[in-house]
Amino acid sequence: MAIQTSINGKPVALAAEPDTPLLWVIREELGLTGTKFGCGIAACGACTVHVDGEPTRSCSLPVSEVAGKSITTIEGLKSADGRLHAVQQAWISAQVPQCGYCQSGQIMAAVALIEKTGSPSDAQIDEAMTNICRCGTYPRIRKAIHAATGQAAKAAKPAEGGA
């Protein structure tokens, strides 16, 4: 029986076996490859998506548990007119990514943190940002979160007109 859910604002019916982790449904059934496989045990966070706004490690969440819920992946962060989210822009300004493989997950975790705290302190960043980056981009991630904070609050409001 198909599992009904919503991905990036669009309703979808998923054919996957109910025990399949959400990650593999997103990647292989929906073809959204921005969400990455890193460890399969929720240790690294490369697979982080939002489930009803909560940052969630999709490699360890059976797809049956997202029935009726709303999922956002990295592909769903841009605004309708294709403009990057303020956090994504901050990531470019701070030249955060190196290999870039973990960065979808880092960005999803950062967006959730900012939505929750508004303007996170260093201690809040340390506590919430537990995704692994082997390239060692942590100082730039921190910098980008700080830089994005004001902008992110503005971007969350409905269109104020103009870029």
Binding site: T33, G34, A43, W91, E127
Partner: protein, 747 residues
């Protein structure tokens, strides 16, 4: 690396190879020396012709193989290096575009095809000497680095921090400059003016006198028919507009919106997904497996037995890994079942105690200098796992006699040649399509690419395309680890607190001699290598042997400073050559870190100075031990002399990342063995540094001494571990001689 099984092919190069160990890097020996590197002097015109045909098939005009100028002024640069996120492709583009006077916003970089015509022969000494006529560069490369690059000949390898300092300086800047000359010559003819009256800017040739200008795009077709100058004059750095600027990295936008396609993201219709488990005890073989439990998993289509592994092919990764986990395959241990971390350390210690070294580099009479009662310390470091975030993943499809492979590897050409070897097909029937790489740090180098053989074997017997993904468990258990290594260090001090003699005995698979730079000028120094090989595959781990050698020497220098009762900076300074680059780096880091200024109780400051890949890096670290027993790094001050820097911000990112990788390994990382098998299973028991453990601040300063360009991707790593260990000694009085610090703290 001595225990790495690999194919060796006699290189085609006529280079002087005396004293250079031939290694597995030479798999791609099929490439023709000089082919395709530089338009005019190529040894094999057929290879260059095929390269030209390949790249011009979609329009544009090719210069010296590595550059294409479109009629619309677009500039495409074909990089023989794999940008793993270190920014090397952006840097290479900056170097070429600078000399070409290209409009930067028109420049893009793509991977050079995995074809012999694009072999990066520019890394070889023979090419340097014969074709570029730049003896100054060649003479500036010490033998240790020549041996390093000699291993890479004929390949498209990325490693050894070589992309910009060799490929960039030797090839790309010259290609840019020579192409600019060809465009100017063409313009002079067309405008009927002397060459001397023409200037270039933003992809235009300009004749200021008459106010006329021509676009590169409209000159390219004719200019591409000219012979290129083999030794064009390069710009004086004072004229640079693109180099030495922090240009934004070209690869970053696609890495923030999920659109970048990594090897693991590749997909074709009808593709199946496979995953694999190799013998847990390296050296073992698959003896039996009941395939039924896997085949009972919905979505599983096939179980394939390989010599030393079993693979499950399914409709997706989840059924594949579920099927694999349902199996209980039996493997032999290849006689390696008795090997453990402890047994390796014991064997290494025994070898050193016996004193029969496999190699020695020495200066002065060390034995006499050490005297009867030298200061001694023994150090040990574990195997380290690369833990790149993208697990190995390659897709292969064998159809109509042709094999196509897609994915990200550090050496596309060698990947293709390995698939040729395993499949038995002709090289013309095998294509490798390089994709973006999710980290490597040395793991995806040619000599340990067993996944290439695995996916080739699977594809050759399957009627559909197959993507082979290694689970993280497989990745951790089947690594190409930084070697587990031991060192026995001895030194003696004179009455004047000066070192009289210094001996570094170390045991590990390979000699570290070609990579070790000991900067201190002492009357007698000796390094002795004791070769010990286990069943584990060992390989290049970011900064290679400099990680453990840097830790040994810079920790022991700290011990000796304390033994002499001298400040660690002063003690080092007293043993460095006056006026040297090393002294400048050390003085600068002392000044910038506030060395000697008071610190809160429980916090200590440590210094370490290591040269690797021709770049000198010093860290001063402030650290303490937290209530949880975890080392806490408060601040890192870093000074780097890499000679010169192509892209300051990208270089800074590399030093930041290298520092954090060095700290991560020092604090928590270890691969251990029991009964011949790796004990760690995933990232849960291989703890990598996270945000909370990373320093809040890494203050990095580049000295830019103007010396020949050094590497930047690796040299930030080696001084991190000793600087931290020295800081913890200053804070707690406890000396760290075994890594990682965490297991020692727990013990």
């Amino acid at each position: 690396m001595a225990d790495t099984p690999a194919t060796e092919v006699q290189p085609a190069a006529p280079a002087k190879r005396k004293g250079v160990k031939r290694r597995a890097f030479l798999i791609g020996g099929v490439a023709v020396v000089g082919a395709g590197l530089f338009g005019i002097s190529i040894a094999d015109r057929n290879a260059a012709k095929s390269a030209k045909a390949l790249l011009e098939s979609d329009g544009g005009h090719i210069f010296a193989t590595w550059l294409k100028i479109g009629e619309d002024d677009s500039i495409t640069i074909y990089s023989p290096h794999t940008d793993i996120g270190q920014g090397s492709n952006t840097g290479l583009a900056q170097m070429l575009a600078e000399e070409l006077d290209a409009a930067w916003d028109q420049v893009r970089v793509v991977s050079a095809p995995a074809e012999p015509a694009f072999a990066n022969v520019g890394l070889g000494r023979a090419f340097l000497a014969d074709m570029t006529r730049q003896p100054a560069i060649i003479n500036g490369i010490p033998q240790s680095f020549l041996s390093f690059i000699a291993r890479q000949m004929n390949l498209q390898m990325t490693g050894g921090s070589t992309a910009l300092r060799f490929t960039g300086r030797v090839t790309f800047q010259n290609v840019g400059a020579a192409t600019r000359l060809a465009l100017v010559e063409t313009a002079a003819k067309r405008l009927a003016v002397p060459v001397a009256e023409l200037t270039t800017q933003d992809s235009h040739v300009i004749h200021a006198k008459s106010g006329r200008s021509l676009r590169y795009g409209e000159l390219a077709a004719e200019a591409a028919t000219l012979s290129l100058d083999n030794a064009p004059k390069l710009k004086d750095p004072s004229q640079y507009r693109i180099m030495r600027q922090s240009m934004q990295r070209l690869d970053i936008p696609a890495k923030v919106d999920g659109s970048a396609q990594y090897g693991i993201d590749f997909s074709v219709p009808d593709m199946r997904v496979a995953t694999i488990m190799a013998a847990p005890v390296r050296g073992g073989k698959l003896t039996s497996v009941d395939t039924a439990p896997a085949l009972a998993v919905k979505g599983v289509e096939k179980v394939i037995k390989l010599d030393d592994a079993v693979a499950v092919v399914a409709k997706g990764y989840w059924p594949a890994i579920s099927g694999l986990r349902a199996l209980t395959p039996q493997f032999s241990d290849g006689g390696n079942g008795g090997i453990s971390t402890a047994s390796i350390f014991k064997a290494q210690g025994d070898l050193m105690a016996k004193g029969d070294a496999d190699g020695e580099a020495s200066d002065g009479d060390v034995q006499a200098g050490l005297g009867a009662q030298p200061i001694e310390a023994n150090y040990q470091v574990p195997f380290l796992h690369h833990a790149m975030m993208e697990p190995f993943a390659l897709t292969a499809h064998f159809k109509d006699g042709k094999l196509n492979i897609w994915g990200g590897m550090q050496d596309p050409l060698a990947t293709k040649m390995m698939a040729v070897d395993v499949s038995g097909l002709d090289a013309d029937d095998v294509n490798f399509h390089p994709m973006i790489i999710g980290g490597s740090f040395g793991r995806r180098l040619p000599m340990y690419m067993e996944i290439v053989g695995q996916v080739t074997k699977l594809a050759m017997q399957l009627p559909y395309p197959v993507k082979l993904i290694w689970s993280r468990e497989e990745e951790v258990a089947q690594g190409a680890y930084r070697p587990q290594s031991s060192a026995a260090l001895k030194a003696s001090l004179t009455k004047e607190k000066r070192l009289a003699a210094y001996r570094n005995d170390y045991a590990q698979p390979e000699s570290a001699e070609s990579e070790t730079v000991f900067p201190y000028a002492l009357p007698a120094v000796s390094r002795r290598h004791f070769a010990h090989v286990s069943n584990q595959q060992t390989g290049a781990w970011r900064s290679v042997n400099s990680t453990q050698q840097g830790f040994y020497n810079e920790s022991f220098m700290d011990e000796l400073a304390h033994a002499a009762g001298e400040d660690p900076v002063v003690f080092r300074r007293n043993h460095l050559k006056a006026g040297s680059r090393h002294v400048r780096v050390l003085d600068e880091v002392a000044a910038r870190s506030g060395w000697g200024s008071p610190l809160p109780a429980g916090t200590g400051r440590g210094v370490a100075l290591v040269e690797s890949f021709r770049t000198i890096v010093a860290h001063v670290i402030e650290a303490s031990i937290g209530e949880d027993g975890m080392p806490k790094v408060h601040k890192v001050t870093t000074v780097v002399d890499a000679g010169s820097i192509v892209n300051p911000d990208a270089a800074m990112a590399q030093i930041e990342g290298g520092t954090i990788m060095g700290l991560s390994s020092a604090i928590g990382e270890a691969i251990t063995l029991e009964n011949g098998a790796v004990q760690q299973s995933n990232l849960a028991d291989y703890p990598l540094l996270k945000m909370a453990g990373a320093p809040l601040e890494i203050d990095i300063h580049f000295l830019n001494s103007g010396a020949d360009m050094g590497g930047i991707g690796e040299p930030g790593v080696p001084p991190a571990a000793p600087a931290l260990a020295n800081a913890l000694f200053a804070a707690t009085g406890k000396r760290v001689r075994n890594l990682p610090i965490l297991t020692q703290a727990k013990a």
